[in-house]
């Protein structure tokens, strides 16, 4: 017979780390708040075109994806946004890179994009910033991380895990993002 012991003296001495704090120090995940804060552009839409090209210094190949925007959730986005991920093939030479995020024409997505030092918009938090949109317009595919060797990231006990976004509509996500942006602006204003 299993017997849970509820004695006060023993139970209070045992500490369990909450999930977000744990992963903040060991295998970090971005929270919803992290993801919104890190992103320069957030849009919902469909990948309409993909092509690979060398970067300006002819050092790395990047695959660019045009996303026809159906909803702009953060940042100044027009009718389309161009995002880029390292890797792809140009002519007789190709490049793969561990940690890049894959897209294909026809992907219906919500993407959180971060401006990189080279000026490209790349998926924020690597795969964490990419979600699929189902035929009903619901968000799916939130998963912990999809890059390798993640270092510690910010997080707190009050942070919201990305899985909480699964099943939301784009409009519901828009409300969350707007609230977070307002919250951040108020914090900054209070300083």
């Amino acid at each position: 017979m299993l017997r849970p012991n509820l004695s006060l003296t023993s139970s209070i001495s045992l500490i369990i780390l909450v999930s977000s704090a744990l992963f903040a120090t060991i295998v970090p995940r971005l929270s919803v708040e992290d993801l919104i804060d890190r992103s320069d552009v957030v849009v919902a839409g469909e990948v309409t075109r993909s092509w690979a090209a060398w970067d300006a210094s002819h050092k790395y190949i990047w695959t660019h994806h045009d996303v026809a925007v159906s909803s702009s959730l953060k940042g100044a986005a027009g009718s389309s946004v161009e995002l880029a991920e390292p890797g792809g093939a140009v002519g007789a030479e190709g490049m793969t890179i561990s940690g890049s995020v894959a897209y294909q024409v026809g992907d219906k997505v919500v993407v959180f994009l971060q401006k990189m030092p080279n000026g490209y918009l790349r998926t924020a938090g690597a795969g964490q910033g990419r979600f699929a949109l189902d035929s009903a317009g619901k968000i799916h595919g939130a998963s912990p991380t999809s890059v390798e060797f993640i270092e510690s990231s910010a997080g707190s006990a009050s942070a919201t895990r990305l899985e909480a976004l699964n099943g939301l509509s784009v409009n519901e996500l828009a409300v969350r993002i707007a609230a977070r942006i307002r919250q951040s602006a108020q914090r900054q204003g209070a300083r």
Binding site: M1, L2, R3, P4, N5, L6, S11, S13, L14, I15, I16, L17, S19, L22, I26, V27, D55, S57, K59, P86, G88, A89, V90, G91, A92, E93, G94, M95, T96, I97, S98, G99, S100, V101, A102, Q104, D107, K108, V109, Q114, M116, P117, N118, A126, G127, R130, A132, H140, G141, S143, P144, T145, S146, V147, E148, F149, I150, E151, S152, S153
Partner: protein, 698 residues
């Protein structure tokens, strides 16, 4: 040699892997697999700082040895050359940085905005594999679609690495070992305890340890002739016979516990080439550890994956044995139960049997867990869903021969009020590391922790005298460059022990039979590794210290550290034969060994062999043999023979590591009237003297 023997024993001819592919789906494969030349860029040095990502970051701690760490990682992979046709050449240095078109495999710190942009935010490093996107000839190689023609490893400037396990740092060798796997065409693994598992954490060395899954990759992609294998193929479907796309499939050798991971395609179909054996096979969906993104699936592909319970062929309690015969094909179709498992990773801690969990901090299971074998230990776990209805049948471990007994509610609870469960794991002693998988079930729900345990040999323990001068047997202190002997149990694999060798860069190896020894985190060159004794050279890096923490690690099992005193020199004379009162000495004129039958003439020059002369004034790296010219000499030593002063020159023996030769001019017949077996004493500049030994003089 790192883990060479281990892996050969663990998984000869094993297969099972996930490969990196080109933009059009062709698998990557090297064309230079028998002579892969990597170069360490001069941008990566001990103490290097970077401000590229904003704030100034010390990227490599000042006492790190990045060159040695890369050599160690290369040696890890080269250790598989017995089962696969791969060979990394001796590491070179370069200053060219990252350049895709130079066909120079380079490991460099990110230096530019372009470099920084290809590293995912938060990533520790990336490998860029450049490949031929069609058939033809490049750089003299005949290539086809997917042939790797250049690989560069770019190290993040945003985090701090070390090679010493310094607090708050990431292990550089783990990063490089992982990235070299990408350079060989490997993708990631869903098995938590593998090198190619895509996550690491501060202070973790787990990715250093090549597992059966990495063996599988190189064995399959770079096969040697006459490898006997069979195949498991199958399809993962729902009860309605609909495919379960991109399911992860794990196969566990029911006898050895060797574990392999694979990824099904969009139709749920998989096929793996494996060594003949009987396998337990199960399928699981992407989970909280591994996601579709780890395998570069697109959003559409990822969205096609379905949620289901981890499902064993035949059931978790009575899994069907899938028998793979030589050149045969076995089928293992699995019908999975739809719906996401309600179980989540539990909080856990391992404790001595019966020890209280009160006051412990329990992390959730989040990655690989080292588990020393040869012990019984309590596994205490709990959290949402893990309640008093649990029985031993709800906790399953595959691999390692681990037995689970005495599952019960613990006497303490989590601070959240949830109960804790406790089970005793009996882990039989093993000699080589392997993986084990934890399965937890409850009420039709299952959660799999595939390959989560890295089961290692029993924990090494020192026995007094723990560290002694290899020549004199003195156990007072160590000195830089001294050859010492360590004594204890489970220091290395049982058997006849392992003898040293020089690595491709002509440094004395720092790993023998899976054993490493560190002084304050700096790996020591090893001369011999046996279960009860390890001989090594104390790293020069201890110079100037008064004490050093010594840790010995046997295939992932680390000892508790012991502190040893450090002094500038600890001279000791080798005895001939060992244990006798006579010095190992040779005549300079003809190299013959001095003995009663071959005494040294008074006035002649003899060479006394020993250890512990301290760090030479010349620059010589730890593990690097002393050159022949100019000789590395030290001054300030004095010598007496038969109580009379003798001339002495001290040198590190050319071509050797740690071996000292004292060239002694014996007193003349006028100075030394006695003959016979006379005492010889050598005194160091700091006043330390050699032990009592004699030399035959006439």
């Amino acid at each position: 040699m790192r883990y060479l023997a281990i892996l050969l024993l663990l998984a000869p001819g094993a297969f099972g892997y996930v490969r990196q592919v080109t933009a059009d789906g062709a698998p990557l494969v090297r064309v230079d697999n028998t002579g892969i030349q990597f170069n360490l860029d001069t941008s990566l040095f001990a103490g290097v700082q970077s401000s590229l990502s904003g704030a100034t970051v010390t990227v490599m701690t000042s006492n790190s040895d990045p060159f040695g760490a890369v050599r160690g990682a290369l040696a890890d992979w080269n250790a598989l050359s017995g089962v696969a046709n791969i060979k990394f050449l001796a590491l070179q240095t370069t200053s060219v940085g990252i350049n895709h078109s130079d066909y120079i495999m380079t490991i460099a710190l990110a230096k530019t905005a372009d470099d920084l942009s290809v590293i995912p935010t938060g990533g520790l490093g990336v490998t860029t594999d450049y490949y031929a996107a069609g058939n033809g000839t490049i750089n003299g190689w005949t290539v086809q679609d997917g042939s790797i023609i250049d690989s560069d490893i770019i190290v993040s400037p945003s985090v701090t690495f070390s090679t010493t396990g310094a607090s708050g740092t990431f292990d550089f060798q783990s990063l490089i070992t992982h990235e070299l796997g990408h350079s060989l065409g490997s993708s990631h693994s869903n098995l938590l305890g593998t090198t190619m598992y895509p996550y690491s954490s501060i202070g973790s060395f787990a990715n250093r340890y090549l597992s059966t899954d990495e063996v599988a990759l190189v064995t399959a992609v770079y096969p040697l002739p006459a490898t006997t294998t069979g195949t498991i193929t199958g399809k993962i479907t729902t009860a309605a016979i609909l495919p379960a796309p991109y399911s992860m499939v794990t196969m566990i050798d029911q006898s050895s516990g060797n574990t392999y991971g694979a990824l099904a395609d969009v139709t749920g179909t998989y096929s793996l080439t494996l060594p003949p054996a009987s396998y337990t096979v199960y399928a699981e969906p992407f989970n909280s550890f591994v996601s579709a993104g780890n395998f570069y699936l697109t959003a559409t592909q990822a969205a096609s994956a379905i949620a289901f319970e981890p499902t064993f062929l035949g059931g978790a309690l009575t899994p069907t044995a899938v028998n793979v015969t030589a050149n045969g094909t076995a089928t293992a179709n699995i019908s999975v139960t739809l719906g996401a498992s309600t179980l989540t990773p539990p909080a856990y801690v391992f404790l001595p049997v019966g020890a209280s969990a009160a006051g412990q901090s329990l992390p959730y299971i989040h990655g690989p867990i080292f588990l020393a074998s040869g012990q019984s230990i309590d596994f205490v776990f709990g959290g949402v869903g893990y309640d008093a209805t649990y029985t031993t049948s709800n906790v399953l471990i595959f691999g390692g021969g681990i037995q689970i007994t005495n599952l019960k509610a613990d006497t303490v609870t989590l601070s959240t009020g949830q109960p804790l469960l406790r089970a005793t794991l009996k882990i039989p002693a093993i000699t080589t590391p392997g993986l084990a998988t934890l399965i937890l079930t409850k009420g039709g729900n299952t959660i799999a922790f595939s390959g989560v345990f890295i089961v290692t040999p029993p924990t090494p323990a020192f026995t007094a005298p723990a560290v002694t001068n290899a020549a004199s047997g003195a156990d007072v202190a160590v000195s830089p460059g001294e050859i010492v002997a360590l004594y204890g149990s489970s220091l290395s694999q049982p058997g006849n022990g392992f003898s040293t060798f020089f690595d491709p860069n002509d440094y004395l190896t720092t790993i023998l039979g899976g054993t490493t020894v560190t002084f304050d985190g700096v790996p020591a060159p090893l001369i011999y590794a046996g279960s009860g004794q390890v001989n090594l050279v104390v790293p020069y890096e201890v110079a100037g210290e008064t004490s050093s923490k010594v840790v010995i690690t046997n295939n992932g099992s680390a000892s508790a550290p012991i502190a040893v005193s450090v002094v500038s020199d600890t001279p000791g004379i080798l005895a001939n034969p060992p244990g006798s009162p006579n010095a190992l000495a040779t005549l300079a004129t003809n190299g013959t060994v001095i003995a009663q039958s071959n005494p040294a003439p008074r006035g002649s020059i003899v060479t006394i062999w020993g250890v512990g002369a301290g760090k030479p004034s010349f620059t010589v790296a730890t593990g690097q043999p002393a050159p022949y010219a100019p000789p590395y000499t030290s001054s300030g030593f004095t010598c007496t023979v038969g109580g009379q002063p003798a001339g002495i020159i001290t040198a590190i023996a050319p071509g050797f590591v740690g071996l000292v030769q004292w060239n002694v001019t014996l007193p003349s017949a006028t100075q030394l009237t006695n003959t016979g077996d006379l005492p010889i004493v050598i005194t160091s500049p700091s006043g330390h003297t050699t032990q009592a030994v004699n030399i035959w003089v006439n």
